[in-house]
Amino acid sequence: MTDALVEVHGLVHHYGDAVALDGVSLSIAPGAYTVLLGPSGSGKTTLLSILGGFVVPTSGRVLIGGRDCTKLSPQARPTATVFQDYALFPHMTVESNVGFGLMMRKVERRQRRDRVAAALALVGLAGLAGKRPHQLSGGQRQRVALARALVVEPAVLLLDEPLGALDLKLRRQMQDELKALQHRVGTAFVHVTHDQEEAMALADHCVVMNRGRIEDDGPPERVYARPASRFTAAFMGDSTALEATVIDSMAGTVLASTSLGDFRVAADVPLGAPLLLSLRPEHLHLGEPRKALHLGDAEISSVVFQGSFRRVTARSLRDPAVLFEAKVPPGPAIAAGMRLALSCDPDDLIVTAR
């Protein structure tokens, strides 16, 4: 990608002895919604802080719009940040909060007022210009923080777990609004979260991080369906995991030996290499084996009603160490203690080599 808006090369960052980033390279396209996803301590927030200029990396480079910004202070770079706790100025009105960045840029008063009004309208807060932050709800504060960052027209908008402080319902609603907003303004958004559902809902480009490294990055559909690593496979959603060894390899397919049997899967790895086969709950079929890949019989150990589906766990009779997780639509009677055949589509098997 030569026309990347943000390019990050070989970022390494240490906090004392702790390694927060361990060689991260990434490029972000203009106009894309990028989500940095990972557990706490994965380095995602450090990466965002480096992009924002709050942290200078131990080594590595950050280019924004082709310009080296590695050591540039926050006020000098074309980024704006929406902080996790919003960090609104408590002593200023909503209007002054949003206008602050324009005032710092010496935008003339009348023009400033117009642009603030437009930004507030954009986030749906047109009537609240005169309020102070403590008079607003969590969702409204969030929008003020968004408007305050967007009004200065940054090249990249950085969002540090922006939905973390909201309750679930509001979080889902703000998710949709964020996505729509990004679409409308066309600014590149970089959003940090540990919630993989949030990541999948928002991202054009999903970057999975773990222990200071990028595990996988790409479109969320691909990252979910064809994760590049074991960590990504496990982090992107529940799955049943099967350890396997390659016992035969030829032209893009291998024969993987597992405790449930030998399966032919698409992979390009040498003989004897370890593999992990994972299966998403929604791809597991219970009962009469209608799918091509038979996984043997299993005894149902629990059935949990979840509204639109049931979460079923079942222990394999071929290898009691294997616990299947399945998502079953409501309907056929399934109860703990029943023994059922399990099958899946071979294409749905997720194969990860590392």
Binding site: P74, R148, V152
Partner: protein, 261 residues
């Protein structure tokens, strides 16, 4: 109605005694400032405002009063500014041996005014700085800076760090962050520190006595009056000092406690 238990009566008596000891001298001072005759001793012959008129008509006392105000204002402004900057430094930057240095800043609170005044007198003598109101103001900065630092530093928490970051992110330089964001967020603490400093400077005697000569502050002038014997005029001047102190203290408390409740 139940008969109060002896312990309760004792507790009330004790409280009355405490408040009596604290406020009786002030009440006596105030009462005899309204004396009509020329000796501030019983019996009370007032009320009369003639001694207040005498104070206002005395150019020495009036100029001392204005001097006191100027010294209080100037030294408090300086103390608050320096205290704020010191608090900013300790709260926002990594300072080597921070604990020790913080302790050293606060230490003058524990040193007697007499020692501070004498120390400054000797030091100014060495430097050839003459005794003056400015010297007294510097002395008052020495006693008030620790207080201002302690009050402002205690209110400068980590929760403001992100807000300051946001300001920088939006293009504010370091001075703009301080003036437009940090100081306004801390204004109750800054105000309280300022008014407490005013109070302490306003009725401070020893340092002003040691470091001023011809132009002097009101407490020193009152002491000069006292040397020529008791007069209700002294009471009136003292009452004025007290009333201003109380007003400043009330303002400081209102500012501090209104925020907290």
């Amino acid at each position: 109605m139940t008969v109060p238990r002896p312990a309760t009566i004792l507790a009330y008596a004790y409280a009355a005694a405490i408040f009596g000891f604290i406020f009786l001298p002030v009440i006596v001072l105030g009462l005899f400032s309204l004396q009509a005759s020329s000796l501030p001793v019983p019996p009370f012959t007032g009320p009369s405002l003639r001694w207040y008129q005498a104070v206002i008509g005395d150019p020495r006392l009036v100029s001392a009063l204005l001097n006191s105000l100027a010294v209080a204002l100037l030294s408090s402004l300086l103390s608050v500014m320096l205290g704020f900057l010191a608090a900013w430094g300790f709260a926002r930057h990594v300072v080597p041996a921070a604990r020790l240095l913080r302790g050293l800043i606060i230490l003058p609170l524990a040193v007697s005014y007499l020692i501070i005044g004498m120390g400054l007198l000797v030091f100014f003598n060495q430097l050839g700085v003459p005794k003056s109101l400015s010297a007294a103001a510097i002395g008052h900065v020495v006693i008030n800076l620790p207080l201002c630092f302690a009050i402002i530093y205690s209110q400068m928490g980590d929760h403001q760090v992100n807000i300051e970051r946001a300001a920088r992110d939006l293009g504010a330089g370091e001075w703009q962050v301080m003036l437009l964001v940090t100081a306004p967020m801390l204004w109750p603490a800054i105000f309280a520190a300022f008014f407490l400093s005013m109070t302490f400077s306003w009725d401070e005697f020893i340092i002003a006595f040691l470091l001023t000569r011809f132009d002097t502050t009101l407490p020193v002038e009152i002491w000069n009056l006292l040397r020529s014997g008791l007069s209700p005029k002294t009471n009136a001047a003292g009452s004025l000092v007290f009333i201003v102190s109380i007003l400043l203290a009330i303002i400081a408390e209102l500012v501090l406690f209104r925020r907290r409740s």
